[in-house]
Symmetry: C2
Subunit: 283 residues, 2 copies
């Protein structure tokens, strides 16, 4: 590609940029954002070649725009770029939820833009920001693309190629399937960890003085960014609530098994849980 | 001390033994258990000086017996040792629950033996068995002692000294307080992790193919030993059920906040959770 614009040069946007450069996939990368100091720094570090605080200038002559902003800002960004792109421009994103970005695109454009290929790279680091940018961030990580039926297949192919060039393992599925899967494997665990902290806070904050290794690992994701997780909850609310409710049934079941001293059933449940987890970990 | 008997020479029992030896706290350590090959190995490795498959021989001339068996076997072991100890023998244990061992002792002895000092070293490793024995296992780890009002203070002092000699930070509290604290910080998180695996198994086991770093840490404790956790649930059932129910109220609250799009409240909850977790981790 000749020119790509990256909107939101944070960890993900910056890592994608450096990855593409390392893979010689693009001639020029131009960054756009709200904070000039960060864009300047990104340019100094060679993450981007140019930057602009004016969206029209930022999008001039670009073949693709990657939107790497929090999902709650997505609609606003689409509004911003709409006057400056045309039907040929490929749009991609990196948001943790996909149904909401598809809905936002339909709202802003009247229908899903044919060359909008929503993406979610299931990758990250605890650190954030430009300084943490890593061309290997996506290496061997799953990149989910959620094109619609109407999405231009050539655009999908191009987006797939770019993500594969930075080492990603691309998989295509519907936005609905993506959101449901991530609700189960990522959103629900985060909710559970946040909830444990909230429970301890209300019940007995000093209890944490007696917490050890198991608590440390279980609770790590409760250190996640509150704004990002607020936005994920609001943008995938139906699936998240569905899975909280489903999970509550399992807790009810376990409480009953314990109360009724169903020793063998408990043992079987824990044993199967262990087997599943061990099998997953050893892949 | 001249002679100590360790019943159950697994990770905890063996680590205590090597720790005491390194700290020159005891002349002779004799092991007792069901598997001669393991006891032989422990002797070969220098973890214990002697072993016996006969409880009478094992307890002859000992000043203290450490019971390091699963909590569910505790009562059976107390029955076994009762004829071979006297009022002077210090009894200690390492079980993850304390109310149940106190109850077991009252059952077997008619009343709480005055020199029984229940203990719980909050320490462990993923590995188990003699080969994982580590004299530093308890170093800087909390060791909770739960003597009763009637417990002989000299026995408590002696037990405290021994645990401190292997590096432990001893704290004394009631068995009830111990069980409640551990229910919140250890038992509940394990239940939550097992429950997530059970939920995924029933709902969509393939979803785990899309799980990443957050899931990995959250779910690690679901790899815990099923028998040990079955026993913990049965031996601390009241507190565990109480905390499952309390936790479920938090999940209900969160589901409502998400459903009603209470964005600021969600953000505050997640932010406070993060602050608590970060503060705990940085201690």
């Amino acid at each position: 590609m000749n020119k790509i614009c990256i909107i939101g040069v944070g960890l993900i946007g910056a890592s994608f940029a450096v990855g593409l450069k390392c893979a010689n996939q693009v001639n020029t990368i131009i960054g756009f954002g709200r904070h000039e100091d960060k864009l300047k720094k990104a340019q100094t570090l060679g993450i981007i070649d140019q930057y602009s605080l004016d969206i029209g200038s930022a999008l001039e002559g670009v073949q693709m725009v990657l939107i790497a902003v929090p999902v709650n800002s997505f609609k606003q960004i689409l509004s911003l770029i709409k006057p400056h792109i045309d039907d040929a421009t490929i749009i991609c994103d990196v948001g943790s939820t996909k149904g909401s970005v598809v809905d936002a695109a339909k709202d802003i454009f009247g229908q899903m833009p044919k060359r909008f290929v929503p993406a979610h790279p299931i990758a990250g680091k605890e650190k954030s920001g430009i300084e943490a940018a890593d061309e290997k961030l996506f290496y061997n990580q799953r990149i989910i693309l959620t094109p619609q039926d109407c999405t231009d297949t050539q655009a999908v192919t191009k987006v797939r190629e770019l993500w594969e060039s930075v080492g990603g393992k691309v998989e295509i599925m519907s936005a609905q399937k993506h959101d449901d899967l991530l609700a189960m494997t990522s959103h629900l665990p985060h909710i559970l960890a946040f909830s444990l902290m909230d429970y301890l806070r209300d019940n007995n904050p000093d209890a944490m003085n007696y917490a050890a290794g198991g608590f440390k690992d279980f609770s790590r994701i409760a250190s996640s960014d509150s704004l990002m997780w607020r936005d994920i909850c609001l943008n995938n609310s139906v699936d998240i609530i569905k899975h909280i409710n489903g999970y509550q049934q399992v807790l009810n079941k376990l409480a009953n098994l314990i109360e009724n001293r169903q020793s063998q059933t408990l043992e079987n449940l824990f044993s199967e849980a262990k087997s599943m987890r061990d099998a997953w970990y050893s892949k």
